[in-house]
C-alpha cells in the first residue's frame, strides 16, 4: 500500500489567557491511497484540531505547530507558507465541515461557490467552470442541477447543502478529503444518504478520506481503519474489525459500551464514561484517561503508557497490555462482541513509535 499522508509526532498548542492549551500532544498516523481513516473521540480530544492542522487552517496565533511533520505526497505541510498552502488547499486536499447551514456563503450562488475552486485550481474559464459545476451537482445527487446552480444556499435544504459542500470539496478531484463531522448536523435518514454518497464518490474517484466523528455507528459504516483519540493523543488504532471486535484500551471499551446496539436487552442501562476529559492547559501526569478509568492501576497515575503493538495494524497505549499487568475483563457489552482475530501476535509488543 502506498502512503498518501503520514503524520509524525504532531504537537499543536493554543496560547490563551489561561495558559498554553496543548490540544494535540504527539499524534502519529498514516493514511494509504484510497483508504478511509476514521478519527473518533469526544469533544476536545483534538480530532478537529488534528485535521485542521493538516489543512493548516488553525489560526496562528493563537495556534502553533510545536513539532512534528505532516508528510503529504512527499512534502512536509507543516513547513509550508500560507501562500504555498493555497495551491494545496482545495486542490489536493478538500474539506467538508460539520454545519452545512453555515459553511456556504449565504450571499453567493451555490454554483459560483463551486466554480471558484475550478477557476482557481484548474484554471477553467467561467463558461467551462459552470458546465463542470452543473456536472458536479448532478454527481452529488442534486436534482435539476441546471436550475440549482443559480440558486442561493438558503434555497437548499440542509442535506442538499452538505451535498453542495461535497461538490465544492471534490471539485478539483483532490487526493485527500477531510470530512470533519460531516453528518453530525443532519438528521438520521439524510446522514445515511450522505455517507452512501461519500462512499460512492470515493469508489469513483479513488479519494482517500479522513473521517472525523464521534459517532461509532458512522465509523462502522465508512471506515477501513480507526484511530481513537483522547486528550490530544491517539490511544488506540487499528482496522475496523480490530477496534470493534478486539478493542484493548479501556477508553475504547467505554466508547463501545456506551453505544446502543440492537441486541442489547431493554433492561440493561446504557453505560456512560464517568467524569470529564482533562484540562489540557495542565495535562495530567501518567495516563490522561486514568482518573476516569475503572481499570486504572497505580502506574497509570505516574507513568505514561507506551504504545503496544497487538498486530501489524493494531496499536494501543495502555499498561493493561504489559506482561506484568493483571488480567482484566472488559465490560459486558464489549465482551459480547469479542472475537479471536488470527492476525494478532502471540504477545503484545512494546513499540517506541507507531509507524
Amino acid at each position: 500500500m502506498e502512503k498518501l499522508l503520514e503524520v509524525k509526532d504532531l504537537q499543536v498548542s493554543f496560547q490563551t489567557y489561561g495558559g498554553e492549551v496543548q490540544a494535540v500532544r504527539g499524534v502519529s498516523f498514516h493514511l494509504n491511497k484510497g483508504e478511509t481513516l476514521a478519527i473518533v473521540g469526544e469533544s476536545g480530544s483534538g480530532k478537529s484540531v488534528t485535521s485542521q492542522t493538516i489543512m493548516r487552517l488553525i489560526p496562528t496565533p493563537p495556534g502553533k505547530i510545536k513539532s512534528g511533520q505532516i508528510i503529504f505526497n512527499g512534502e512536509d505541510l507543516a513547513k509550508k507558507t500560507d501562500k504555498e498552502m493555497e495551491a494545496i488547499r482545495g486542490k489536493d486536499i478538500g474539506m467538508i465541515f460539520q454545519d452545512p447551514m453555515t459553511s456556504l456563503n449565504p450571499t453567493m450562488k451555490v454554483g459560483h461557490q463551486i466554480m471558484e475552486v475550478l477557476v482557481k485550481h484548474l484554471k477553467m474559464d467561467k463558461a467551462a467552470a459552470k458546465e463542470r459545476a452543473i456536472e458536479l451537482l448532478r454527481l452529488v445527487g442534486i436534482p435539476m442541477p441546471e436550475k440549482r446552480v443559480n440558486q442561493y444556499p438558503h434555497e437548499f435544504s440542509g442535506g442538499m447543502r452538505q451535498r453542495a459542500m461535497i461538490a465544492v470539496a471534490l471539485a478539483s478531484n483532490p487526493k485527500l478529503l477531510i470530512a470533519d463531522e460531516p453528518t453530525t448536523a443532519l438528521d438520521v435518514t439524510i446522514q445515511a444518504q450522505i455517507l452512501e454518497l461519500m462512499k460512492d464518490l470515493q469508489k469513483k474517484m479513488g479519494t482517500s478520506i479522513i473521517f472525523i466523528t464521534h459517532d461509532l455507528g458512522v465509523v462502522a459504516n465508512v471506515a477501513d481503519r480507526v484511530a481513537v483519540m483522547y486528550a490530544g493523543k491517539i490511544v488506540e488504532m487499528g482496522t475496523v474489525d480490530e477496534i470493534f471486535y478486539d478493542p484493548r484500551h479501556p477508553y475504547t471499551w467505554g466508547l463501545l459500551a456506551s453505544m446502543p446496539s440492537l441486541d442489547s436487552d431493554d433492561k440493561s442501562e446504557l453505560a456512560a464514561i464517568p467524569g470529564t476529559p482533562p484540562d489540557l492547559t495542565n495535562p495530567p501526569k501518567g495516563d490522561a484517561f486514568a482518573p476516569r478509568n475503572p481499570y486504572a492501576m497505580k502506574i497509570d497515575f505516574e507513568l505514561e503508557p507506551p504504545m503496544f503493538k497487538i498486530s501489524d495494524t493494531h496499536y494501543a497505549a495502555t499498561w493493561l497490555l504489559h506482561p506484568d499487568a493483571p488480567k482484566v475483563e472488559p465490560p459486558e457489552a464489549v465482551k459480547k462482541r469479542l472475537r479471536q482475530l488470527s492476525s494478532n501476535y502471540p504477545q503484545p509488543v512494546i513499540v517506541k513509535e507507531s509507524e
Partner: protein, 311 residues
C-alpha cells in the same frame, strides 16, 4: 417588486402627512411669531402683516390651505426674505448643499470602509489601533473644531486650499473633509466590527479551505456581507449630509440649505420651517426606501415581497 415600491410610496405619503401636521402645530405652539422682535411693531402694521400672510385666519383654514399648496409643491413666500418664496430658497440652497454633501458622502464611505476593512484584517495589530484612534478622533472632535483645524493647517499654514467661500472645486475640498470626518469615522467603526463578525463565520473557513487567497476571501466573501450595517446607516446619513450642515456652511461661508434650516427656526419663518422640513423628510424617506431596496440586492435572503410571500 413594483407592488412593493408602490406600497412603500403610499406609506411615504402617509408619513409625510403626519410630519407636516406635527410640524405645523408644534411650530405654532412655540412662543413668539415671525414678527416679534426686539422692537415691538406698531399694532396696525402687525395686523396688516398678519392679514397679508393669512395668519389672522383660523388655524384649520391655514392648515388646509397649506396642505393644498404643498400638494402643488408650493411652499409659499418667505416671511423673512421679502420677495422670495421658500421654493426659491430651496432651489438656490439645495444644489450647493447637495454637491458638498455628495462629495463628503463619497469621501466618508470610501475612506470609512477602507479603514474599517484594514482594521478588521489586522485585528489587534498596529493598523487596527491606528485606524480606531483615527476613528475615535473623528467621532469625538466636533465639526467646527475640525473645520477650523483644517482651515488653519491646510489653508493658512500650507496654503493648499482656499480658506472659505464657494467658488471653485478647490473651495469644496475643505468643507467636504470637515463634513465627512464624523460619518467616515462612524462608518470605519461599523465596517470593522461587522467585518470581524463576518470573518469569524464558517463560510470564511470554507473559502480558505478552497485555497482562495486572503485578498480573494476579503473581496468576494467578506466585504459584501459586512456592508449591510453600513448601508443601513447610509440612509439617514445621506439625507442629513445632503441637506447641508449649518456649522460647516457658516464657517466656510457656503450658501447652502443647512443654514436656512436653522435660521428659519430662530426667525419663526413659518413657511421656511415647513418647506425645509418637508423637503428634508422627503429626502430621508426616499433614502430609507433606497436602503431597503439595496438590502435585497446585497443579501438574496431578504425578499422585497409585496405583502404575500412571492417567488
Amino acid at each position: 417588486m413594483l407592488r412593493y415600491i408602490s406600497r412603500r410610496l403610499l406609506s411615504i405619503l402617509l408619513s409625510l402627512f403626519l410630519i407636516i401636521t406635527a410640524t405645523f402645530f408644534l411650530m405654532r405652539a412655540a412662543p413668539g411669531g415671525p414678527f416679534s422682535g426686539e422692537k415691538k411693531l406698531p399694532p396696525e402694521i402687525e395686523k396688516n402683516l398678519n392679514e397679508y400672510y393669512g395668519l389672522d385666519r383660523p388655524w384649520y383654514e391655514q392648515y388646509t390651505d397649506y396642505l393644498v399648496s404643498i400638494a402643488k409643491w408650493d411652499f409659499g413666500p418667505s416671511f423673512k426674505y421679502k420677495g422670495q418664496t421658500v421654493n426659491d430658497l430651496i432651489n438656490e440652497g439645495f444644489p450647493v448643499s447637495f454637491f458638498l454633501g455628495m462629495e463628503a458622502l463619497l469621501l466618508a464611505v470610501s475612506l470609512g470602509i477602507l479603514l474599517g476593512v484594514i482594521a478588521a484584517l489586522n485585528h489587534n495589530k498596529w493598523q487596527d489601533y491606528g485606524a480606531m484612534i483615527f476613528a475615535v478622533l473623528g467621532i469625538s472632535v466636533p465639526s467646527f473644531i475640525m473645520a477650523s483645524l483644517l482651515q488653519y493647517v491646510l489653508a493658512i499654514k500650507l496654503g493648499l486650499f482656499p480658506v472659505a467661500r464657494w467658488e471653485s472645486l478647490q473651495h469644496t475640498v475643505l468643507p467636504a473633509l470637515a463634513l465627512a470626518a464624523t460619518p467616515m469615522a462612524f462608518i470605519a467603526r461599523l465596517t470593522r466590527s461587522s467585518m470581524l463578525e463576518v470573518l469569524s463565520n464558517d463560510y470564511i473557513r470554507t473559502a480558505k479551505a478552497k485555497g482562495l487567497s486572503k485578498g480573494q476571501i476579503t473581496v468576494k466573501h467578506a466585504i459584501r456581507n459586512a456592508l449591510l450595517p453600513v448601508v443601513t446607516y447610509l440612509g439617514p446619513l445621506s439625507a442629513a449630509v445632503l441637506t447641508g450642515s449649518f456649522v460647516i456652511e457658516k464657517i466656510f461661508g457656503i450658501p447652502g440649505l443647512g443654514s436656512q434650516f436653522v435660521l428659519s427656526i430662530s426667525n419663526r419663518d413659518y413657511t421656511t420651517i415647513m418647506g425645509v422640513t418637508v423637503f428634508y423628510s422627503i429626502l430621508l424617506l426616499f433614502s430609507v426606501l433606497l436602503v431597503d431596496i439595496a438590502y435585497g440586492l446585497i443579501d438574496p435572503r431578504i425578499k422585497l415581497a409585496g405583502g404575500k410571500k412571492g417567488e
